[in-house]
């Protein structure tokens, strides 16, 4: 994985500490082209990996990228699925069956309704695989070497103890997409333990890692221990979410930790992108970060 990953929250009106800022950003990125222009700035700064949700709007961005294959030759996407809000809203509006009918693709559903509900309940893994395919279709032809499960689903499976489904995700991503499965979570140490119980060692896990311990469930020291143990290929996200810290302090903390393989950040302006990249490079030198 690249050291620095560029994220997408700013494009889609997601901001963990300010709804107001989120709304302003969603206005600013109303046009797909303005999203691509910001991605271009990030590429110029050396960030060639874009980690993004399978948001409906990503289809248009993916089209723009496919249309300019030469320019985006080295560019890669780490998709994060599913875009859970879509399904949560759908369940509220359509009910569980209505949602399945609406989103699970094609002939599976055809046969399903001939056979009644019975089939749905028989093969959840197959259904998950079909939904993964449906969500990833938009990236066809673009390099997606790591494919992530979004934190709402990862943590739901974790809390419910649905270990077999985590494992099924892992196997399917490797088998069908020849990619590395990754996990976004707000409960990194617990997740690493559960994955290990399924024989999944050294997983790629993206989680909040920041100086103040914001959204580092179970406490910052458990996270630091998990990192030291070397059992996880960590991606640090929400690195600025601690609030109080300056960019310098926030990035120095993350760069000083062992086994943080990548740092994920999102920004809208050229200045902020440049500043973040420069600071990470600076602290990487200071802490002798070595690329794998």
């Amino acid at each position: 994985m690249n050291r620095i990953l560029f994220g997408d929250n700013q494009f889609f009106g997601v901001n963990h500490v300010s709804d107001e800022k989120a709304r302003q950003q969603s206005m600013r990125f109303k046009e797909d082209i303005s999203i691509l222009q910001t991605i271009d700035v990030a590429i110029e700064e050396g960030c060639n990996t874009f980690m993004c949700t399978t948001h409906d709007r990503m289809l248009n961005i993916a089209n723009l990228i496919r249309n300019d294959a030469e320019k985006y030759d080295k560019f890669q996407i780490y998709p994060c699925l599913p875009y859970a809000h879509k399904y949560a809203n759908a369940v509220t509006e359509l009910g569980i069956m209505g949602t399945i009918k609406h989103y699970v693709p094609g002939n599976f559903i055809g046969s399903l309704f001939k056979g009644g509900y019975a089939m749905v309940s028989k093969d959840h893994v197959k259904m998950m695989e079909l939904m993964i395919d449906a969500e990833l279709k938009m990236f066809k032809g673009i390099s997606t070497p790591v494919i992530f499960l979004q934190n709402v689903i990862t943590d739901l499976l974790l809390g419910l103890g649905m270990k077999d489904l985590l494992k099924a995700f892992d196997q399917y991503i490797r088998r069908k997409y020849n990619a590395e499965p990754g996990y976004i979570t707000m409960n990194m140490p617990k997740l690493v333990d559960m994955l290990a119980s399924q024989g999944i060692y050294h997983p790629i896990v993206s989680s909040s890692i920041n100086y103040e311990g914001f959204r580092m469930s179970g406490g910052i020291s458990m996270y630091e221990q998990a990192l030291k143990s070397g059992r996880v290929r960590a991606i640090a996200m929400q690195v600025f979410s601690g609030g109080a810290t300056s960019a310098e302090k926030a990035l120095e903390y993350v760069c000083s930790l062992p086994n943080v393989e990548s740092i994920l950040f999102g920004a809208s302006s050229k200045e902020n992108i440049h500043q973040t990249v420069t600071l990470i490079n600076h602290y990487d030198k200071k802490y002798h970060y070595k690329t794998a």
């Binding site: 509006e93 209505g98 580092m216």
Partner: protein, 339 residues
């Protein structure tokens, strides 16, 4: 270690179940749901004991407490059965379809000295907790006026029907959505006791309202308005905000930000004259397991603490949720009387 059961593993219930499943002081003794889609998934992919009949679950497993997250029309009969068997209850909001039923439940729970809690999770959001602290400190002076807004993208086109589109089952923007805002105003300011105007509007739904506007007054005579609309797709998710004006300042709060203006110096420790802005990351307590907001974990932690005798049973009680149900009923009556 507390023995906890759950009835209704739908959208809300599955979230409670995951948090309970990860809780170190909880043993989940069983899950009951009438839908075979739900029970099949749980049976095949979890180690929970799964039941289609909740009575069987409680009779066999004798839980200390049960979480009830079934559609609202079933709250009353199920909660009553639990109370009859001396089981402590956490029930989802809104408490009950009508205030008379709610009153009966509250009385039973009280008679039997049982612990109870209702799922109004906003009270466990750091920004609203801080707003409560500031308001209770008196530093805003004499409260004068409030306004509450709530918006979200629940029903944005005419679509298939679920229980949310049936008024007799607790559907509609007033019961399902506005309840949160009313409950929060009752908590932050004072219980609402009078409804001076109410409008219920439908845009996409055939038989329930999609928006609610009201003129309200609290027990201590503070007036204000609420505007609630669940058919606004410019909001990515449910968004709740309240503004309160007082003789010494003004406070605006939502789930991520708290902005407070003070007219005078040294209003309350940590705040200054003029505008002060605080964000959720600095205000939220940390949790041991996070699913989709600290508040969902915190409200469960609180209930477990109550069961273990480590916290008083004072937040989101049946009593406070009943007050909210009563306001909902008053709003409906006001609208009917106008017709």
């Amino acid at each position: 270690m507390k023995k906890i059961g759950l009835i209704g593993a739908g959208k809300m219930g599955i979230s409670h179940l995951a948090i309970l499943g990860a809780h170190p002081d909880v043993e989940v003794i069983g899950v009951a749901d009438t839908s075979t889609i739900v029970t099949d998934v749980l049976k095949r992919h979890t180690s929970f004991d799964v039941y289609s009949d909740y009575l069987e679950m409680i009779n066999v497993k004798k839980p200390d407490a049960v979480f009830v997250s079934v559609p609202t029309k079933y709250h009353e009969p199920i909660v009553q059965k639990l109370l009859d068997r001396n089981i402590n209850v956490f029930v989802e909001k809104p408490f009950s379809l009508n205030a008379d039923n709610g009153q009966k439940l509250m009385d039973s729970s009280r008679q039997k000295n049982l612990y109870n809690q209702v799922g109004y999770h906003n009270k466990f959001i750091g920004t609203f907790m801080e707003a409560k602290r500031i308001i209770d400190s008196g530093s805003l002076g004499k409260l004068q006026l409030f306004s509450g807004n709530m918006n979200g993208p629940v029903v944005t086109k005419t679509k298939e029907h679920t229980w949310r589109s049936k008024p007799e089952e607790g559907g509609g923007c007033l019961m399902d959505y506005a309840a949160h805002l009313i409950d929060l105003i009752n908590y932050l300011i004072a219980p609402i006791t009078a409804v001076h105007g109410a409008d219920l509007m439908s845009f996409y739904s055939a038989s329930v309202e999609d928006a609610v506007s009201c003129l309200l007054e609290t027990k201590n005579g503070i007036h204000g308005t609420i505007n609630v609309n669940w058919s606004d797709e410019t909001f990515r998710k449910m968004t709740t905000s309240i503004t309160i004006l007082g003789s010494k300042g003004k406070l605006t709060v939502d789930a991520t930000e708290l902005k407070v203006y003070f007219k005078e110096a040294q209003p309350i420790v940590g705040y200054a004259k003029g505008w002060n802005v605080r964000h959720i990351n600095a205000l939220s307590p940390h949790v041991d397991f996070y699913l989709r907001g600290e508040e969902y974990s915190l409200q469960i932690d609180h209930f477990i603490n109550v069961l273990e005798g480590k916290a008083p049973n004072t937040i989101n009680t049946f009593e406070s949720a009943l007050q909210t149900d009563k306001v909902i009923q008053q709003i409906k009556n006001h609208k009917i009387n106008q017709l």
